[in-house]
């Protein structure tokens, strides 16, 4: 195998899991399928990801049913709601749970002492790990929120976030929306937004990329303006830079200015707005940006 084809093979291997989950971007998907066509090794590695013949992903996985009392208790939020809704309407899954000796109902969430089975060994440790992980994350988030509230100056005035994981992209807010080269972001919407990336051209430290915000990304009221907004730039799911500020500080347009030149490719820009009331989920919008 030549170096080139070996590299192509390694590239393909690293993407098989994403392909199996149906989450490979279109351009990579086409390239991988071409490779799969001529690579029996990759095809053989992909075949174990197929469900067992005769079974279907439309029902609860057998591994979840087999470990139901401790694994289902770990599910949270939407995934928990979806499993619960399915169980309510699927007689087959209830029968499978019954067959496996489990109560065909969702166990209480992990961390609820009354729900914890007294005799489960490894599951107990797993519960404790999750309990502590969630507890520590909550405490860390609380401390971070208190620090930001107590020391607003830590968010420096030039828009750079002191808490960002990477500082090689600066965020500038409240720009004039008539700035040359500005790109208008479409109205965010979970269902309606097309998956097509927004072409932002080449992005350098000279002009950066200027994005004009749609009305939905501007606070409807003074109270809403006080809510915390976290903007994160990601690539392949990896956070490149992040900035935290209040909602109203965004203004009409924002600029992201890298230190050098942003590598060509697709990036995700995430806007996460704190909920209006405690207990509600954060509002999150994504934009896919294509840098040339």
């Amino acid at each position: 195998m030549s170096t080139g084809s070996a590299n192509a093979h390694d590239w393909a291997l690293r993407r098989l899991l994403a392909y199996g989950a149906g989450l490979l971007p279109e351009d990579e998907l086409l390239k991988l399928e071409e490779h799969l066509h001529g690579c029996p090794d990759c095809r053989s590695r992909l075949s174990p990801l197929k469900p067992v013949a005769g079974t279907s992903a439309l029902h609860l996985p057998a591994s979840l049913i087999a470990t139901w009392s401790r694994s289902a208790a770990l599910l949270e939020g939407l995934e928990r709601e979806l499993v619960e809704a399915h169980l309510d309407e699927c007689e087959e899954c209830r029968a499978a749970l019954d067959f496996a000796g489990s109560d065909p109902a969702m166990p209480a969430p992990a961390g609820d002492d009354a729900s914890r089975p007294a005799t489960r060994r490894a599951g107990e440790r797993t519960h404790r790990v999750w309990f502590w992980a969630i507890g520590l994350s909550g405490a860390a988030a609380g401390i971070a929120a208190w620090l930001v509230a107590a020391h607003p100056a830590w968010l420096s005035s030039d828009g750079r976030a002191s808490g960002a994981q990477s500082s090689n992209v600066a965020f500038e807010f409240a720009l004039d929306s008539l700035t040359t080269g500005a790109v208008r972001l479409p109205e965010p919407g979970f269902r309606a937004r097309a998956a097509k990336p927004i072409d932002v051209g080449a992005v350098t430290n000279v002009s950066g990329m200027v994005l004009i915000l749609p009305p939905a990304l501007q606070p409807p009221s003074a109270e809403a303006g006080e809510r915390r907004m976290v903007i994160t730039l990601l690539r392949d799911g990896r956070e490149l830079a992040s900035h935290t500020s209040t909602f109203y500080s965004l203004g009409d347009a924002i600029r992201l200015r890298p230190e050098g030149r942003l590598e060509a490719g697709d990036y995700d820009l995430r806007f996460a707005l704190d909920p209006a009331a405690a207990g509600e989920p954060s509002l999150v919008w994504f934009y896919r940006l294509r840098v040339r």
């Binding site: 149906g22 197929k50 469900p51 992903a57 609860l60 591994s63 049913i65 928990r80 992980a133 799911g237």
Partner: protein, 164 residues
């Protein structure tokens, strides 16, 4: 199963045996089984191999050759340690979400998860390959948004496995 997975603790073997039996039970409800003994042996083999892959984390799922006798160490992360096949659970959650919100996406996802090939999906649905992929990219974006917006072991796994 005990012979195949010599280093696996008895409690885990019990879970794996239950998993194989659940699959057998489901298949038996759908159709009359011509040769249940052979099918049971095949399912046990498959569950053993899947278990080894799970213990090796996302990348381990793709190992072509598996040494079943090697001692296993669960991967980092509490979720996989419970023994749940996270890829299967991820697929289930995605399909359930589409079932409630986007039937065309559910159809595409169900076909792809069963076939593991967009070419096969296009052939089955009698649509051009490029059209299927275009349609799916809209669905995929929804999943990506969920994976970053939602909390929970399934989405956490997807992020850790770097598939979103």
């Amino acid at each position: 199963m005990k012979r195949k997975l010599r280093y696996v603790p008895p409690d885990t073997l019990e879970d794996l045996a239950r998993e194989a039996m659940v699959t057998l039970f489901r298949l038996s409800r759908r159709e009359a089984l011509a040769n249940p003994e052979t099918l049971a042996a095949t399912l046990v083999d498959r569950v053993c191999v899947d278990h080894v892959r799970r213990m090796r984390g996302p990348a381990g799922r793709l190992d072509a050759l598996l040494d079943l006798d090697a001692p296993l160490k669960p991967p980092d992360g509490a979720v996989d340690a419970t023994g749940v096949d996270m890829l299967e659970l991820f697929r289930f959650v995605v399909l359930e979400h589409f079932k409630q919100h986007d039937a065309p996406c559910q159809e595409l996802a169900a076909e792809f998860f069963a076939e593991q090939s967009w070419t096969a999906v296009a052939k089955r649905l009698q649509i051009r390959h490029v059209t299927v992929i275009r349609r799916w990219s809209h669905c995929m974006q929804q999943v990506r948004e969920l994976a970053y917006a939602q909390r929970g072991p399934v989405w956490e796994w997807a992020r850790q496995a770097r598939i979103v």
